[in-house]
Amino acid sequence: MSKTNQSPGAPAATLQQTGRSVRLSGLSKHYGDFAAVDGIDMDIRAGELLTLLGASGSGKTTTLSMIAGFTTPTEGTVLIDGEEITRVPPHKRNLGMVFQHYSLFPHMNVRTNVEFPLKQRGVPKAERRRRAMEALEVVELAHRAQARVTELSGGQQQRIALARALVFSPSVLLMDEPFGALDRALREKMQMEVRRIHRELGVTVVFVTHDQQEALTLSDRIAVFERGRIEQVGTPEDLYERPASLHVATFLGESNLLPGTVDGGVFVTRSGSRLSAGSAENGPATLVVRPEHVRVQPATGTGAGIAATVGEVVYLGADKRLVAVTADGEITARIAAAEGYRPGDDVRLGWEPGAAAVFPG
Amino acid sequence: MHTSARWSALLLAPAVLLVAICFVVPIGSIVLRSFTEPELGLATYERLFADPTTLRVLGRTLLVALGAVGLCLLFGYPYAYLMTLVGPDMRAVLMVLVLVPFWTSLMARTFAWVSLLQRDGPVSALLAFAGVPGVTLLGTAAGVMIGMVQILLPYMVLTLSTTLSRIDRGLLTAAQSLGANRYRTFFQVYLPLSLPGVFAGSALVFILALGFYITPQLLGSPRESLIAQVIGVRVERLVDFAGAGGLSLIVLLTTALCLAAAVLAFRPVRAMLGQGGDRR
């Protein structure tokens, strides 16, 4: 963003800052025999936007809750910029937080809601007002400063909540499924807004969601949660292209799964097709390949690959989605819009050896 | 927000200590007297149950309390319901009409009823005008019931209106748009949603009615005596603290039994009286 081309919602200088890092070390939360979070280690870098992604019950919300201080860990520590805060009460952690259901104070108007955290910090009245208005400008709602919060739409309320969470320049911003209650169009708009604000203010953001698309759209890095543990942490590209587990591979984006067996570096499908297995160990395994990596060729060619028949072709504008029926089940491929396959055509499917991943099990 | 046990103990301490020391200890000691006087044992209870008055008056008290609950609902529910339908100004007026008698001294109201219900008083005149001459309600069960209902009604309306005002009327519109008629909507959607208020109000009215003393004393005859009056006689005329303690225990157990039944039968009451934990 160039300095001469500032958007109307340009960041107020006072809100700009250097985000802080968060370190979770051996963090666990047990409820009786049940481990909601089971020994997590993670570094959240200063200024990054990290998403905790997982299904409900995977431990992502409990982890956020331990960062915020609502939940006391059974074991392990939480550090912000190297300083341990595991037992520090929430109001002394200086974190901003946005909740799923906005949680605006219904007895205050928009401006007093945004002033609330400043008031807690003893900021004088005049400055409080000025900074609140700046924060409201960031979320483009300064004109509703006097409105009652109940008069606002869901999207507006969530932007107020965002302004309220940012107005005191917190070191870290926590967002707990903040857009879950919004409709799709509004959600996408808010995602862009969060990206913009994150970029402009430089705050560290920890974002919880169960929506993989949202995670891919927003994040610098994503931590995928499963059964109280982190399966993989990485950039969206890392996770998408180089999933560390079958679960990650299937959770993020679309994948083709082929069950089979690895035998001496060769992956043998159930129907007997032999494919490269890379360095996978011997035993039952699943081969995963993304649709855009599947290459479709006319069956006339000889070469390696799996024989298939075109089942369905869907035109998507930029490309086409082709579903091919093989002896090992359906395989989906993305092909150029110009390709002229029709249902019933015999084809041969293949991919670069590095494009497929093989996981045991 | 999690609150440490020490904090909750600190918050609870003033109320719990006040009630325990200034109320439970005295009640406990009078109940204790029913077991220790004249000597350790159940003699007091043998005496009380040998007296036919005890069970008869106890049964009557329960019936009167139930009747009061029924009448309070009959008058209070439509009134509280109306309060949710009208505009804010009218609602304020209706609320004031409830609060004014609520605030007016019970003594004064009971005496107002005495003068209204007396022989040849305004109510008799009204009934005569309506074609029923020569009726005096003072000193009858009906007179007692009218007075009690008028005094208890505000408790019912206030409790109900809190609940009813929270019911989302959108649900009714939704039900009607799904084809339910007005009556089905009311009985299948609105009424179940209002049950917490109904049970809370009924429990409150029932319990208060069990202890009524002044009103039946002044509006009824001895034939309408309730348990509180019999306890009063025990203490004031017979100076029989043991007997009064025994009767008190009987009333307390009866109340506890009724409450337990209500709590077991209806979740909303449990939510009100039980752990505040199971919200929503």
């Binding site: - | 003033p14 008055t53 019999v230 100076v239």
Partner: protein
Amino acid sequence: MRSTTKILALSATAALALSGCGGGGGESGDGSQLTFASYGSEYQDAQNDSLLTPWAEEAGVTVTNDSPTSYPRIAQMVDAGQVTWDVVDTEPFYPVANCGTYVEELDFSNIDTSQFPEGTWSDCSIPFAQYATIMVYDAEQFAQAPQDFEAFFDVEAYPGTRLVPNWAGGGALEVALLADGVAPEELYPLDLDRAFAKLDTIRDHLQFWDTSSESQQALEDGTVDLALVWSGRAYEAELNGSTFEPVWQDALLAWASLSIIKDSPNLEAAQSLIEYAAQAEPQARFAERQPYSPANLEAQPELDEVQEKYNVAAPEVQDQAIVTDVQYWADHNDEANEAWTAWSTS
């Protein structure tokens, strides 16, 4: 937490200041104070003017008034060893029933009991004023004046509602037995079953009063036709224009009884007050103020015409009256009251 305590303390202080530092005195025990408990209102005012104030001036004692007389209160006081009352005005049976337990025995060396009607004083009490429980009837309703209690039970000749006191000792039991033909001298001990059986014959015509003001109200409003009431209340009702007339035949004599609470902290002063109260002058002064007659028959109150009409001390009333047997009531009060409650609440 701390602020709660503070608020508690503050409001306690505020209430204390506003209500003028209550708490009856009388615990000093140096003989300069005395607490007198009675039934309050103008009745107690009259007792103050006619009895307590003149005595206090003479004896140099500060009198604190308390009210109303309450038997459980006396019992609690004595049982707890925290006696704050000294002299108390009670029903006649009470000091007889509780002589030596809740009330002190009196020293009669300076009290002349010869002028009291027989049976009105006991080892623990003296009478201060007398009154009677009488039958009154609505003169506008009945041309023929009823002569005795038989009329009270005759709903044919005297139709209408009857009002009776709602406790065993109120007089209804005696009246029922007299109406049933029991001779006055054989009245005690009361045959309770017979009395209730007689009362049952007019059960549907009965109304009850608990406080004497209720009875007075009923007479003034004409809500009943016949009633058993205290003579003093009939007098008050007549002053307020009631149309009820008294029947003196077999009037049941009762009296206001003064005694000293057991373990009174001001025993000497209390005894002195009792001795003063037994005299004719204070009793005469009281009778001039209230519709009660002196129990000391030597007293010569100056009465107006209506007061004279209700003067229980007059010889013609005394001649046809029956003195309530306090010993019977002292012995059987609990039993009779339990039976009364069982009967009246059914």
